[in-house]
Assembly symmetry: C2
Homo-oligomer: 404 residues x 2
DNA sequence: TTCATTTTCTCGACTGTCGAGAAAATAATT
DNA sequence: AATTATTTTCTCGACAGTCGAGAAAATGAA
């Protein structure tokens, strides 16, 4: 409502609409696009012609036949219009993927993080090198890459593609935009990992025919705790954010967090927090850098056999999550919660605590507890979120840059 | 991004732009509108002509003179285009105001709430009667009222104008839209009181020339605790919400809240919570319905004279607020906090606790504590928020309904 | 009375969407 | 093999909106 509108903007909006419809459904005919977008057939003609001339779309060669009349000609995004690089940064590996504009994976490799080297400088060098290698392997020019989409756990300034705080680098900031600025013309995007999970789940929910999607939250359980929230704003577009949930204050009793503060949710519900509680280590002990999953599996096994402290540790983790979720719902609104991450193996042990932690709040008493469901396959969802977000951004770019 | 665009929509958007500019600045000339909105002079001509024909605008009679050339003719909203009713519901009184489309107050009266009568049914009757009386006093037809804007503390379904939970009626819902539905053609709007404070403050901040407004929070201290958040979304329009802050879980130690849950922020920081802590009443005591301000003034006086438990009570209230604010900032982002309400008389006593409560969180360590300022005159701000919101809604309606 | 100055108004060009019907391309029918 | 029916795509003219330029209007100064 702040900026003036014009006929050109109308065209941009409608072009974006066509691209979005095509992105959703793969390939559509002229009439299908018209039905999907609500645009008049004549308008679709003009827009597709323009996009075709710009090399964004092409008529698919294989025409599915069936009907009687004139055969429908399907439009598809041209896979060679451009490329997308996706980088998933996790604590142990960094995964580099090359994707074409059609959304199909062309190449992928992992690099194991060198835990000897600390700090952002060697990491940045390795990062730039790996991107270069990704290009070489597919004999791709650098300028064919339209976007580089990066994800990490932690706190992110997504507008500027700056990592503000992360489990791996702490407060050491890392500016990805500046890192690639001179050489790469690609749009550099940085997103919190759990935000991408929420984005992917929201996209799935929106595709469902029953419709009526309003909002959802994704929580990732692991060494650290992540939250992504996706909400449909009243203007109609999806609003995703990654609040600093893991380091939201839970209760001082949760003890020392690796961020340096006391009482974060993560300090109780992260793997190291559970470990600490189970072994009755003093709560102000400096947290372990890494907790092997095998270690937690052992605690879980003894909890399942009735060991008191082990059970207590998971219950406390659950309460921290339940309280945190209830606070989140107080500030937003009632919405389903999807739980992912390596920690879902212990979800059964945490659930009673979660329910206890939820039940304490007025929000839950008034509107009922949120639906909580477990979603496996976090990494796939993160990748899907990358595609959703980055290809969407590229499409939006195409629509706005006038297609000169 | 979900719906198609068209040239008519462009006109709507630009009409809304003109109305908003006029609303901001009172009355503007043709060229000033053009400068303010960025629209071409020719476009402004067409739009103003249309609005003038529809009776929304008029050329102001008094022409301010000064310059040399052709005198500028100012456009003003026509005050008699329609009317607006504002109803402020507070715990002791209900205030009814009649405002014209130009935003000037025409009539106002208060009704003291009858505390003998409980429940929504007698209230609803009194409400409808009072509106009728407001019309009669100004000899106004009911259909001249374009909007009825109501505010209350508590939890609100603003889309449906339903009060979901309030300090006065508890869980008894009250559907204002249904109450006025058959007789009144006016748009019925219901807003949380502190949301309106945030709206008013945000509007003030946006008017400032230095610009760069991003977000702010308003907190109202009193018998209950309210929060309003105003944020500029990336699409550019203002996004205000009233999270259920007062009943967000603080800590179980806060004791029984009048909502029935344990540990709400309000149970520690609301007037009755402070009273309870100061007098060392057990924390599970059922809260007092009303606490006279004189009572709290006495506690504050003894706290200022060094009385231990009185000081402790205010400190605990501050910690609850500080923790709550830090959690709010974790979920949104760093933003200035404005404190209003009758409780600001004790702000000096709470501030140390607030700072202590803030300091515990990672968010504050990382990005620094938010600016906290005290804003008196809550009631005026609520009223301003009403005008801002309701007149804006009317303007938006005018722009969208095609001006047939 | 004329001129300079400033504001408002008007006209034609341009961009965009839309509905209707023509054109195209195929399957079914004669 | 020719014709007809059917479905899809394409094209044309009408309509809505914005914009820049310049004409027209209205006033103070010369």
């Amino acid at each position: 409502m702040l900026t003036k509108s014009s006929t050109e903007l109308v065209r941009q909006q409608n072009s974006a609409l066509v691209l979005a419809a095509l992105r959703r459904a793969g390939n559509l005919s002229h009439t299908e696009i018209s039905a999907e977008t609500g645009l008049a057939s004549a308008t679709v003609s003009v827009i597709t012609a323009e996009l075709e001339k710009a090399g964004v779309l092409a008529k698919a060669e294989q025409q599915v036949q069936g009907g009687r009349g004139r055969p429908r000609v399907l439009f598809t995004p041209r896979r060679d219009y451009g490329h997308l690089v996706v980088v998933r940064i996790s604590s142990d590996i960094v995964q580099y993927s090359l994707i074409d504009y059609g959304g199909t994976l062309l190449d992928r490799f992992d690099e194991t993080r060198n835990h000897g080297e600390r700090g952002t400088v060697p990491f940045a060098r390795a990062f730039v090198d790996a991107l270069e290698r990704l290009l070489q392997r597919s004999r791709l020019e650098r300028d064919r890459v339209l976007a580089v989409s990066i994800s990490s756990k932690g706190l992110v300034d997504s507008a500027a593609a700056r990592l503000l705080w992360s489990p791996v680098f702490g407060r050491e900031e890392l500016d990805f935009a500046a890192l690639l600025a001179p050489q790469w013309r690609a749009k550099v995007m940085l997103s919190n990992e759990t935000l991408l999970v929420a984005q992917a789940l929201a996209a799935q929910a929106e595709r469902k025919p029953e419709g009526g999607f309003r909002a959802l939250a994704a929580i990732s359980l692991g060494h650290s705790i992540g939250l992504g929230v996706a909400r449909k704003s009243q203007s109609g577009d999806m609003d995703v954010s990654a609040p600093n949930f893991g380091h939201m204050l839970h209760a001082p009793s949760a003890g020392l967090c690796r961020c340096g503060a006391y009482g974060c949710i993560e300090a109780a519900a992260g793997f190291y927090g559970i470990l600490r509680a189970a072994f009755e280590v003093p709560a102000d002990t400096i947290p372990a850098k890494f907790v092997p999953v095998a270690e937690l599996d052992k605690i879980a096994a003894s909890a399942r056999q009735g060991h008191r402290m082990a059970g207590y540790a998971f219950r406390q983790a659950g309460i921290a999550l339940g309280n945190g979720i209830s606070r989140m719902l107080s500030l937003y609104e009632r919405m389903p919660v999807h739980v992912t991450g390596p920690g879902i193996r212990y979800f059964d042990l945490m659930l009673p605590g979660i329910e206890e932690g939820l039940a304490q709040s007025m929000q839950v008493r008034l509107q009922g507890a949120p639906e909580i469901s477990v979603v496996p396959d976090e990494q796939r969802l993160v990748f899907e979120g990358h595609l959703e977000r980055a290809l969407g951004a590229i499409d939006a770019d195409i629509a706005t840059t006038g297609l000169s």
